[in-house]
């Protein structure tokens, strides 16, 4: 009982500072300390949220951005996972592809935007391509690393006990690589949103980034701030989801033990 009260206290303490900042911000905006042309009051952002929610513009754009993010993530993540597993399990495949992949990795994927616009225009493919490329590397690198760092003593043990190659992979190698793969997943989710924001801001005709850029043209600062906050919320949501999954899958790991 006492413990649960304490943990509630902990949670509350974490939110005190953001609440205070919001309050100060609101006060500063109301008293004219911060001009509405620079930063709108939180209440103004909230009313913009309500207005756009009712008009359906906000849900529509969030949906579009989310679908783009997830589709790009699915494509890039699947390819990254495939090469990560392949190169982790086969030295031959690693010798053939790893150098190439590492070279491509050193190109900042956002530097490709001009080229991508020339190739795909500002259609969906451009965004999918950029997100997929951005997501690919953290997933690939961390999957490969996870497999390469598998305890050879455990693999030897599995062999001695007559595990088949499939059993060895499913029971020894994959679970051993999982912590590293989750690290890759969380990195990838961060890169996913970042890439999407940039791509939508520069070249799009719908989505959250587009909404923000339109609002800028009309000096609708409340909408601009709203878009930024929603990006932050979506990013946090994705990360929380990944952490939840991590805790579920890695219960055996002392670092993730609950209770």
């Amino acid at each position: 009982m006492r413990k649960s009260l304490q943990s509630v206290g902990h949670d509350v303490i974490g939110w005190l500072l953001p609440a205070a900042i919001l309050l100060l911000w609101e006060l500063a905006a109301r008293t004219g300390l911060i001009s509405a042309d620079v930063l709108p009051a939180p209440s103004a952002v909230l009313s913009a949220f309500w207005r756009l929610l009712l008009s359906g513009e906000l849900p529509h754009n969030i949906a579009i951005s989310t679908v783009r993010a997830l589709a790009g993530f699915a494509i890039g993540g699947a390819i990254g996972l495939f090469f990560g597993l392949l190169n982790g399990l086969s030295g031959m495949a690693r010798n053939v592809t790893d150098t190439t992949l590492q070279m491509v990795r050193n190109i900042p994927h956002l530097a490709l935007i001009p080229l991508v616009i020339l190739w795909f225009g500002i259609d969906e493919e451009a965004k999918l391509f950029l997100v997929a490329l951005g997501v690919f590397f953290p997933i690939y690198v961390n999957t490969l690393l996870g497999i390469q760092n598998c305890d050879p003593q455990l693999i030897e043990m599995g062999r001695v006990y007559g595990m088949s190659r499939t059993a060895l992979f499913l029971r020894v190698i994959l679970p051993g690589a999982l912590p590293s793969m989750f690290t890759g997943l969380r990195y990838a989710l961060g890169i996913m949103w970042l890439t999407l924001i940039v791509a939508e801001t520069i070249a799009a005709s719908s989505g959250l980034g587009y909404m923000a850029m339109q609002a800028r043209e009309f000096m609708l600062l409340d909408v601009v701030v709203l878009s930024i906050l929603i990006y932050a919320l979506l990013g946090k949501l994705a990360d929380s989801l990944a952490r939840f999954l991590e805790r579920q899958c890695l219960q055996w790991h002392p670092a993730f033990r609950t209770a």
Binding site: Q153, L154, E156, M157, G158, R159, V160, Y161, G162, M163, A167, R171, V172, P175, G176, L178, L250, Q251, W252, H253, P254
Partner: protein, 274 residues
Amino acid sequence: MTVLAFDKTIKIQSSDGAQTQAPQARTSQVPAAPIAFSFRGVTRSFGDKTVLKGIDLDVPAGQFLAVIGKSGCGKSTLLRLLTGLDQPSSGDLIVNSDGEHGNRTRIMFQEPRLLPWNRVGRNVEVGLTGIAKGEEARAKSLGMLEEVGLADRANEWPSVLSGGQRQRVALARALVAHPFILALDEPLGALDALTRLEMQALLERIWQQQRFTAVLVTHDVSEAVTLADRVIVIEEGRIALDLDIPLPRPRRHGSAELARLEGLILERLLGKGG
């Protein structure tokens, strides 16, 4: 002594196919029991370094054999050959089977090597890979955990167990399928002195129940003479001493007879005569 024509004899030939016939392998006691395994002129080299130089060894089924030697004398290599983790460069290794359980050979390592992502019970079930599944495996592994005194920890993660408990889980995993031969690669080396004595007693008790052939590699001479029927000392890749320990069990630590045998082996190991 060349009673090697058993029904299901598995013969592991050297990689170059050479059939080296050992003149006469020494068997301790006259084996009323069939041979569990034989080394016939087994040599193992890594590059130009020869680790085992023509080992001849017959071990009757059910014997508790201890192998002692200094670090790098080749005793671990001997165990790796026996368990099939490695192949001899030349010579033959004959591992017999008892029909009922095939030629099942299990090894217990110095580290427990438990899967950290599987609970204790699941870890013991690894010992039944390809032998039993599902309910049957669960029941068997629980029974074996009971034997090592850890039945109540079946649902724990390995990381919450102590070192000695983890090694007991590893023992349960090694024995759950009732192996014919159990190879032990210094499994007690990393444990504290008291836990070690407990584990020795446990090992002896289970060995007396299951009657598998045990091969214990150790550098602890007192452990060897307490547990084993027979002790061999390996020196520079050769068997330098082959000694029977015909003492009744349970053996008392620190008894005069044990101390005498221990002294004998230590003398040989430290190179004072022998």
